[in-house]
Symmetry: C2
Subunit: 308 residues, 2 copies
DNA sequence: CCTCGCTAGTCGAAATTGTCATAGGGGGCA
DNA sequence: TGCCCCCTATGACAATTTCGACTAGCGAGG
């Protein structure tokens, strides 16, 4: 906020405080980018949909141009939006890093910093996390979704999506190999209930390039590597693949454990029972040479308990 | 701000919005770090002293420990404070970079991004800048104080403090070579009016390691390179050197043009007329291969006018 | 003892942010 | 075509945060 006392007026040249987005606005920006709508973003960041909308509109006014194009299928980042999204990540990561470094200076039970892919956090970890907090109210856990090839601050534990973690780290498998081909009932009502892979290949596939649950893996597993999908839509975030599949825009390959609620409620169906065992899965990894702490031991014990 | 509706309570595990410092708090943090007090910081960021104090206290509460130790000579960053200061720079720089990149996408007169050392900005450029804004209300100028060896975004122009800019850049000299040895009247009342370099060397020198206006340069110029100061106090910011000198804590070597007001008012005196011509000075530099724009031409013309 | 510069607190006002309720748009379906 | 669902954005209002004016109290310096 820029002010000159309380009077409105052109900014004096001398005292200078540049108008920059607020922290909350940056969080809103990232949440919308990753989840595709103000409603979905609201759910993940504990604000009402209208608060998210107002924050976004305020940010767009400050920026001087829209950050998203509003389409019937969701919010799509503009070029300016992409710039701000990227820099919002940098800014928010710096603040989280500062919090972690500062926490590590303090005595007492060690703060745990856990790196959590957004989809995993939203759909698996955070819904369960209350029970850890209840059991260990003295342990502070900080979550980050930010990943950089050259980590500025190594987290204490990483929920890593990979085939096998590096051999020198301590890790255990959570889930993810069991992958289903799903969509909304409405999709299959339009395209017909599939009985064979050829039936499937005539439809629409939804994919996230960096999350390797792709048709080609599925087809190869079923000895039909040469069979290609007629149409594939690709999204910038895996969260949006799932969201588009829920809207019936296509089929997606998704680990069973990420969509148990939707399977139970019928929002996702898996007609024909098509699945495949992915080489990829979610693992919990602690870095090499990480010193054991009481906090981490407690967390691992809890996590093991959750896997039963 | 973290909330759960309006009810106070422990954060739900599911919707998650991490409490991070506000943008304004980060700006306050940096301003205090660079200027040494809430009062001085307030002047540079267009807030009242009490608003700055409250922002700092709020940030310290959120962090959970003090960012500064309050000493009679000013605010001194704690270890936690230094962590946050560093990361505040990163975060604020990211936001400024986003603003610059976004502005560059827009049609119309090009936005100018100028890199300005804090001391230069506070004491020379910003007090004069109103006249440029008045003459060119259509040109948007963004200032940044952030310097990194590997610039993420190259500014359009740099107020550079150096001996000579790189030969491949276009540049012109502003001021800085004319350096005075000054302090507050109270200092000289305590230490005596100096008549020789030996008189001076018995006192206290205030220096900023990275700003090479040092006693050794001064002494070498006067053919007394072997003469050392009895006591030197070093500060993390050149702004704080000047501030400490104004408080009479020692003598400082300062370009005349940065302290014209203080010389006129008598807050700084230069008894004995001790000066030396520094090899260093402030230059205005445009990077190699920078394309000429109307905005830059207008700015350079204005700057030339200011030098007369 | 006085003065100066500082931080931090109180009070009241202003600004910002958030929620609730709702309008209106667009897509999908019967 | 009408209905339903999900969406964004707006208005009204309340809650919260932030700010400025003013001041108390501290410590250094003269």
């Amino acid at each position: 906020m820029t002010r000159m006392g309380r009077s409105k007026g052109r900014m004096s040249a001398r005292p200078h405080r540049r108008r920059l987005p607020s922290t909350a606005a940056l969080q809103v920006l990232l949440a919308i980018a990753e989840r595709g709508s103000t409603s979905a973003a609201a759910e993940s960041i504990a604000l009402s949909q209208s608060a998210v909308s107002k924050q976004l509109l305020g940010l767009e006014e400050l920026i001087g141009s829209p950050a998203f194009v509003r389409t019937p299928h969701g919010m799509v980042a503009t070029e300016v939006g992409r710039i701000y999204i990227e820099h919002a990540r940098t800014a928010l990561k710096a603040m989280e890093d500062a919090a972690l470094l500062a926490a590590r200076l303090k005595p007492g039970p060690r703060v745990l910093r856990l790196q959590v892919p957004p989809i995993f956090g939203d759909r698996w970890l955070l819904p369960r996390f209350m029970s850890f907090s209840d059991e260990h109210p003295d342990i502070e856990v900080q979550f980050t979704t930010f990943i950089s090839p050259q980590q500025s601050e190594m987290p204490d534990g990483i929920f890593q999506f990979c085939i096998t973690p590096m051999a020198d780290s301590e890790s255990f498998y959570l889930f993810g190999n069991d992958v289903l081909l799903v969509s909304a009932p409405s999709y299959f009502e339009r395209y017909g209930m599939p009985r064979t892979l050829d039936d499937l290949s005539g439809g629409v596939m939804l994919e996230h390039p960096q999350t390797p649950f792709h048709w080609q893996h599925f087809a190869a597993h079923h000895h039909r590597a040469e069979l290609a999908m007629r149409h594939t839509t690709r999204f910038g975030y895996y969260t949006m693949v799932i969201r588009a599949a829920l809207a019936g825009q296509g089929m997606a390959l998704i680990p069973r454990e990420l969509i148990t609620d939707e399977l139970a409620s019928g929002r996702f169906i898996n007609p024909g029972g098509f699945t495949y065992p992915s080489a990829y899965g979610y693992w919990f990894v602690t870095p090499p040479n990480a010193r054991q702490s009481g906090s981490m031991n407690a967390f691992k014990a809890w996590l093991n308990g959750q896997m039963r």
